[in-house]
Each structure stands twice: as C-alpha cells, then as structure tokens.
Amino acid sequence: MFQLYEKIPYLLARQPNALKQTIQTIAARNYTNTVPNRILEKARRSKLGAAAKGPSVGSDERPKLEQAEYSQAERDYKYIYPDFLPNPVYYFRDKIREKLERIDMINRRKQITIPEFYVGSIMAVTVSDPYAPGKSNRFVGICIRRDEYGLKHSFTLRNVIDGLGVEIMYDLYNPTIRSIEVLKLEKRLDDNLSYLQDSPPEYSTIPFDFEPVKLLPGMKVPVNMTKVPLKNKPWRHAWDRKALRGVILPEIKRYQHEEYMNSSSDFKPYEKWDLMKNYRETIHDDDHREIVQDIKKFESEITDKQEIVTAAKKLVRTRHIPKETPSNEKK
C-alpha cells in the first residue's frame, strides 16, 4: 500500500482513469490466504500442479463408483426426518422439551429448505464466514455420519483435498448455514461410513464442481452397493470387530481373526434377534404417531404456501391482460 501512495501523482499525470482502475482491482482482490475454488480446481487438474503426485488427480476416473449396482430402499418418515426422533434412553427424555424443540426446528425449516438426505449421499453446504472471500464458504463431500437427537442434530462431510482428508461437522439447525444442497441422493450399506478414513482416498474424493444428479419423481432412494477395501493395519478403530456390510477387509491371519471374534464384545450375531434390545433403542409406535402428526402439519403448511404463491402468480398474469383492453377502447 505504501508503494501505491507514492505512485498516485505519477499515475494521475499519465492517465486520469488510472486511479479508478487501481482501486477497482484492489477491491476485487482478497488479502487472505484463501484461493477461489475455480482456480484451485484448475490447478488440481493440470499435470504440472502441486497435487500431481497426489491421488486426487485421477478423481475423474472412478470406474468402481460408476459401475456400482443399485437397489431400491423403502421411504418412511422415520428415515427422512431422523432429527425429529427423540433420544430413546428414557432418562434423557422430556416431553415438553421435545415439543418445544420440534416447534423451533419447524420454524427453522420454514426459513431454509433442508432437503432429504442420507448417510452416503453427496452434499454441498454453504456457510457464512466473515474471513472467507465473498463472506461465504462452500464445501462438498460425502455425508459420513449423522449424530445426536433433536435440535443438536449434526452431520459430517468428508472429502480429500490435495491428498489430505478433510472432515467438517455441521449442526443441521445452525443459523449461519445459508444453504444445504444434495448433489446425489443415495444410501450406502452401512449407517456409519467412518471407515473411509482407513480406506484409499479414491473412495472419498469428490470434485468441487460436481454436477447434481436428478432423481425421477416418485422414484425410491437408490442404495449404492459399493464395497470399500480397507488399508492394512494400523486402523483408527477395530473395523473387523464391527459387523459392517460395505467393507472388504485385508487378509488377516486366520488365528488372529478368530481370536478377535471370540474375545470381542462388539461382535454379537444374536443382537438383531433381541426383541427387547430393539424396543429399548427405538421409539415405539404410540410416541412416533405424535411426531408424525407434527411433521405432516408442517408439510401441509408448506404445500399450502406453494399453492398460494402459484395462485398469486396466475393473478398477476391475468391482471396484465385487462389493462391493455381499456387502452384499445379509448382509441
């Protein structure tokens, strides 16, 4: 900036519009360490880029994800709005608090459109950030997990940028969130995809200019049947002890594996048959009915709003027509 002050009289003498131009260029520039997404993506793609050695260059060539088999899953309120369900553990519950939270959540949902999404779907979130260029920050990634109940509900996105894994956790009802887009709506075989941390980075790289994929109306949500191979040990968690469906484990010596299976308390094949365990961990139908009533009321309000807007648009169109006719009569 000091250099610029020295230059001003010199520039004014040569060109009268020069000062205007310089101010505009400075205003357009951002004096932060951030780089716009467009330039970053260009640099990644170029063969001379810094990330030429990294795995993110070959991100366009993903034959395994493209050729994945798809099957259709059921559509239910329980899975569309999991954030509305309260904590099933009884000593964390309070019916008045749940009701108040539900009202807050519905009021927030009237302000921005929070779309239906699942673990495994590809999403983009823009957050208002005072230190970012344009005061907004957009991040694209796979939804790895969804945590917490009610207003505290949160989800995490994962992406690999320049060979470095990045995960960001967003609170769903955070007021600084500007928009949530679902670029590709799909499910995976598991409810928690944290094992992508220990898998090769091809499976969690997504370009920032990912084009949204549309589903046909009335179509069920597809399930992506890809199975992710894991790296060799050491892992972040003991994935082989957990009953995961979407994982290909590396070769482990058989005696080691059997030792794990016998010793571990995590591996429980009888759990899915345990009726009472399921009853304790889920919300029974009588409570679920109340929640569904609130959701249906909210959805009907939204559809009413849309109908009013469309009717208003039609009215505006019709009003334009009679204005022309009296002018013709005067003639």
Binding site: Y90, Y270, W273, L275, N278
Partner: protein, 175 residues
C-alpha cells in the same frame, strides 16, 4: 427383523440392564433359555418357573405377540423372527391362527403372573406361575378364592391358644 416396531408395552420391564439368567453360557445362552420358555408357554399356556427367569421371558413373549398382531403371517421379517424365537416349529401356525385372533380386540398384557409360596423347608427359591390369558384351563383365581387357611401354622397356633385360654378361665372359676 430389527426394523419391526409395535406399540407400548403394558407390563413392567427393566429399562436398563438385562438380567443375567445364565452364569457360564453368556448372552447367547440367555437368549436360548428364553426361546425354550416361550415355546413352552405357547404349548402349555401355563407354566411354573423361577421368578427372575419368568419376568425376563415375559417381556419377550408379550412383544412377540404384539409384533405378530401388527404384521401378520405374510410379512417376511416377522416370519423370520417367529422362526427364530419358536424352537418347536409346529407352534408357529398356533401363534398366528389361535393366539393372535384371541387377543385381536385386546390392548393390554396378554400374560398373567401369580406368585407362588416358597417351599419350606427348602432353598428359598421364589417361583411364579405364568399363563396366557383366556385359556381353556380351569382358572387360578377361583381356586385362590376358595382356598381355606385352617391348616396354616398361625391359625393352628391361634386355635390352640383359644382352647388353652378357655381351659384356664374354666379352671379359675372353680377355684
């Protein structure tokens, strides 16, 4: 299977820890024991078992009937569940064709429990009698109301004391 849901249970149940039924066979053994008791209950409709095992397996029996009422015998997950919990396979049609229509208009608990007296002298094991409601067996409550307590120890002692008291008062008169 794990997605099956039903209404609220109308019996007391432990909400936190599951009771340890078996010492050495672990959680799998616990479930095996409950499976045996459920198939016993469906066949005999009235059984006599220890206290802690009975209350634990009662929850599972109630919930199985609840789910069978909701989903019926043409639901795939429900049939797998019934196939797992009922060991003797001839009882599976009984669940759907006899027991579910019996409780079609009933909300409440489908089982009934009576506490049995402790054996004396014995090891102090507390037993209960568990039965399915509206069965064809002679009712327990009628038997309980007609029961006489003349032979119980306290009544015998009181009778003896009365006799003794009469005898003494008569003796005092003469004196």
């Amino acid at each position: 299977m794990s997605n099956l849901t039903a209404g609220k249970l109308l019996i007391p149940y432990s909400r936190l820890a599951r009771k340890k039924i078996t010492k050495f066979t672990g959680p799998q053994g616990r479930i095996d024991k409950i499976r045996g008791i459920i198939s016993d209950l469906l066949r005999l409709e009235r059984i006599e078992i220890p206290n802690f095992v009975g209350y634990e397996s009662r929850q599972y029996a109630e919930r199985l009937i609840d789910l069978a009422k909701k989903y019926g015998d043409k639901h795939e997950g429900m049939m797998e569940m019934a196939d797992y919990w009922i060991i003797e396979k001839d009882l599976i049609p009984k669940l759907f064709q006899v027991i579910v229509p019996r409780y079609e208009n009933k909300l409440g608990p489908y089982t009934q429990v009576f506490k049995l007296p402790e054996e004396y002298p014995g090891k102090g094991i507390k037993n209960i009698c568990m039965e399915l409601k509206d069965n064809a067996l002679p009712p327990i409550q009628a038997a309980m109301s007609n029961r006489t307590h003349n032979n119980s120890l306290t009544n015998i002692l009181i009778d003896a004391y009365k006799k003794d008291y009469k005898f003494r008062t008569e003796q005092n008169k003469f004196n």
